[in-house]
Amino acid sequence: MIGPRPYLRPAESLWWAYPPYLAYTLREVTGVAVAGYALVLLAGLICLASGESAYAAWLGFLKSPWSLALHLLFLIGMIAHVWSWFQIMPKTMPRLVIGGRVLPQKWITTAGLVVAMVAFIIALLVAAWIRV
């Protein structure tokens, strides 16, 4: 016998870095931006609980250029994540049968994206209203 049988090819450990897996990798990586947002908010909550000066310091941090750059990065990551996540959402739920017909997956994706967009616009309006 010259070669082993069956022959096991070595596993590709960098599979995530190449197409067709890039969309998946992007979805996973941009999840960090979602966690980042949550951490900033959590820090704000802790500062609020620990007193006025701590809260003022947190507000000061939010206004710093570093924070603005970070939030711009988070926003880009968040938009990419939302887009990618709603593409996969129909795969994560049971098939919706309405009147004997299956609801097309595209409709579920579109509905999710529309809800996300409306929520985003409402959040922006509320923020603008609070500022005024």
């Binding site: 069956p6 090819r9 067709p20 994560t92």
Partner: protein
């Protein structure tokens, strides 16, 4: 690397008037009795517009190199035998056309993530064992005697699982799944689609038995929702949907297990161990 090219002949049965062109097909060859490891070999193949990659391989076997091994049977995407990596993508050779790779060349390799037996033939033992392990048959909720008639089902009930019954066991989804590549024990998209075909059937009563398998780390939880398995499926079975809706069910079972304890322990007693 020096890749030998084998010569070509006229396409013997080219239809009168059909234009025959030539394409280079690079095939990953492996014969354990002669090769220490797989190596590519290139063939010059004349083809017409209606020729599939499978027909290209048949041309090689009939006219250029009779030692080439590959699986095929129906030539029309029903038997699921001719799955292979064509241009690094998992595809059925009978459903992929040479014209789409012309001009240029195409590479043909055995299905990714599976052990190679010979040339383009991979070992399917692990996959067969997984299929066997999911109770791939209806276990009636309410067994009926023959005189009681058939088990009835509404179109809505059928629609909930129907695409999952279209699987032809071609294993393209396994070649597309990086998690199966890293963990060959992962039950994988194909077997999970078949599992859902029965678990989603209103007539079936063995959900608890099959869920035992879904709950394990090699069950639904090895999946990270890459989704490529559904993209490569030649029958639109959507195995990613089968796996991921079972994650939701598995999580619900976990959180509701306290409420469901009487029913759950009953199903355990009736012997639902995963094999």
């Amino acid at each position: 690397m020096n890749r030998p090219v084998q010569g070509q002949a006229m396409l013997p049965d080219a239809a009168a008037g059909a234009v025959s062109r030539e394409i280079m097909i690079e095939v990953l060859r492996y014969r354990s009795e002669a090769d220490p490891k797989p190596a590519p070999r290139t063939y010059r193949v004349p083809f017409t517009d209606d020729m599939s990659v499978l027909q290209g391989l048949q041309y090689i076997k009939d006219h250029l190199d009779g030692t080439l091994s590959f699986r095929w049977s129906c030539r029309m995407a029903i038997c699921g035998s001719c799955g292979m990596m064509i241009g690094a993508e998992p595809k059925l050779a009978c459903m992929t056309f040479l014209r789409d790779y012309y001009p240029g060349s195409l590479t043909v390799e055995p299905l990714a993530h599976f052990p190679i037996e010979r040339d383009l033939v991979v070992s399917v033992d692990g996959f067969i064992k997984k299929i066997e392990g999911i109770y791939p048959y209806l276990i009636p909720k309410m067994p009926r005697r023959l005189e009681e008639g058939e088990y009835l089902q509404t179109p809505s009930q059928l629609a909930r699982y129907e695409p999952f019954s279209d699987c032809i066991n071609c294993m393209l989804c396994y070649a597309a799944c990086p998690q199966f590549g890293e963990n060959p024990d992962f039950i994988g998209p194909g077997a999970m689609a078949l599992l859902q075909r029965y678990n989603g059937d209103s007539r079936d009563g063995a959900q608890a038995k099959r869920m035992e398998l879904v709950h394990t780390e090699n069950g639904a939880w090895s999946c990270t929702a890459v989704g490529y398995c559904s993209e490569v499926c030649p029958k639109q079975v959507d195995p990613a949907n089968a796996v991921n809706q079972n994650k939701t069910k598995s999580a619900l079972d976990f959180f509701l297990r306290v409420l469901r304890r009487p029913a759950h322990s009953k199903s355990r007693l009736s012997g639902g161990g995963a094999s």
